[in-house]
Symmetry: none
Subunit: 199 residues, 4 copies
DNA sequence: TATGAATGAGTGTTCATTCAT
DNA sequence: CATGAATGAACACTCATTCAT
């Protein structure tokens, strides 16, 4: 923020843009895409209306951009977790524990991607972003499952199971405003990890 | 209400109200609560605006009523399934198969309850309906699991796991517009049912 | 309601009508003509909508009827005051004291006639009722002034002055939600009564 | 605002806002707050709906603004009258003559402040504006009375009497659609001014 | 006479977006 | 690159009244 020492570039070029994105991140994740109006968004970003529309062609494009940013951050943290030197089962546990903390900290608002996909029309760009994100989350679970099951097919299957348990936990924790789905999913997931491959 | 003997005529008593509810069911489940305007709702119901508001005090109340009706139907079919003379594992399979058909038939719109809860504010009546519905779905799975596991604690656990798998399948089938989550959840669920209770 | 035993007159004929009028009196005088809806009026009167419209052709007609009833009561009490065996100056004082009590008891809502005339269009029947009422109030003051001034012209003048002071007191007590205008008008009126006719 | 030197161009800055205010002044004073709809107001102002709401947050705020503007103008003309080099009794006469002309020119619509206060709820911002206006009108009469009566208490009393006579004249001229209340109040007021202070 | 379901024109307000500068 | 006034279609909802029974 303060770069008093840096003598060179004014560089404010995309600063405004980022300020808008930050506001969007805060408001969209707090109340959801459709309950946030463009006016509030602009006001809280402290930009002029037309300035906003110079950076983002529409509310929808802004939303897509926000989700792409979220997606990048999530993927990075996923990769970091995969790269960390702990046993895979513990990574599974850590993932669910991270979810628990996230939901508690966000008043159980649920998954920004799923939530947003629900309220935009079918042909929307946002939908594509959501699909891409979900695909990479699934990929994360597949890779993690690969560390547990040597066999590729079994890994894929375990990965999908964990993916669905995770998603179900998010959905129902949001609906019920309770934390037990996360705990239950975690323990079920761990069971699936350690079970004999007797299928 | 009960006119078992009276065979003929009026029958129009609450016809209008039901017509509105039917329109609401169609539009809300197709596009979601917030993407359907009261004007379209009224027009498609072929009633006057004031007539609508004589039957439902607000759009929100209408939505709550719609979900209550859905809830009743879902619970009935759940009870019917539980009462049917087939092995419990097959009931599990049937439940997932039913989901598959439902999602395919509804263009993967997902769960009306979860979807609606996402777009209404926290203190909303709709939220209470959703929580009630989710609680009864969970109860369904607990009862079904009770037919498989004699031990109550194990039944509860299995029920919750199936509940979450089911929910995750709905969520991700909706996000991805693909059917595999349902199939995967089904097979994972069946595995959980048949595994040795080795936990 | 149930008068199974009472054999004689049904007599309910205008009972309903009067119940509506009473409700109207309560609501109109409390909140004013335009802030009271026909629905609330009907509901609080505990009649069916069409029943209401059988007794009063419109909200406006009901209002006119209400004001006529009020007018009759006011005139009666005016006549009673005039007929009472007290000195005329004391009658003047009593009239203003009565106003003070009325305003305090009605949360300073002001004059129902003036208030209503303000919110109806020019050619309205209500306007005629208001004019008639005001004329009879003016007549009251003229008669009272006649008890003080033997000369007709002087009586008329004093009557009009008292009429206007009274009206000004009502108006400004309503605007300011304070009682002083009534007290001031009373004392000014009494002064006018007792002054030497030196004009 | 002050561009005494700049003789030319833009001048459009708050033009729209003022156009709306002018329309409001015309319609509200002609028919009253509640008989004027926002739609007509907007149409007659020749602006888009949203433009209106960018300038005034609500119909009520617009009304308050209109009354504030009226209040300013009235106070200015009151101060001008007080400052004019004529005997105080003549100022009193001029004030009533001004009222006569105003009422004749406005089809006896009465006082915009009193009229509006009648039709808004108790806690309304408009009510505060009305009270402020009435207080400053009373102040005007007190100052004018001060030019006639050297004693402060007597001046206050005379001022209040004139205030109430004036208000009563407005009210009843409005109710009766006749001009005599103004003439009568004028002559009564002048009598009060010239009488011996014999109280 | 009494009912209550039905009416349609109206209410005030907010939406995401574009324009001239 | 930034501004903010202007847009018009849509929003959810209420009004006084009439109709078939």
């Amino acid at each position: 923020m303060n770069r008093l020492v840096c003598m060179l570039p004014p560089m404010t070029i995309t600063e405004t843009r980022q300020r808008i994105l930050n506001t969007a991140a805060a408001l969209f994740s707090e109340r959801g895409y459709e309950l946030v109006g463009i006016n509030e968004l602009i006001e809280k970003s402290d930009v002029a209306k037309a300035t906003f529309y110079q950076h983002f062609r529409s509310k929808e494009k802004l939303c897509a951009e926000w989700l792409r940013q979220e997606s990048r951050e999530m993927c990075d943290s996923g990769k970091a977790l995969l790269a960390s030197p702990v046993p895979p089962e513990e990574k599974v546990a850590m993932k669910f524990d991270g979810l628990r903390d996230y939901l508690k900290g966000s008043d159980f608002r649920g998954c920004p991607f799923s939530n947003t996909a629900t309220v935009v029309l079918a042909d929307n760009e946002v939908r594509e972003v959501v699909r891409g994100f979900k695909a990479s989350v699934r990929q994360f679970w597949h890779e993690l499952a690969g560390e547990i099951r040597p066999d590729a097919a079994e890994a894929a299957r375990l990965g999908d199971e964990l993916f669905l348990l995770f998603s179900g936990a998010v959905t129902e924790a949001q609906n019920l405003k309770e934390i037990w789905p996360v705990e239950t999913a975690k323990s079920a997931g761990l069971t699936l990890c350690t079970r004999k491959t007797n299928t």
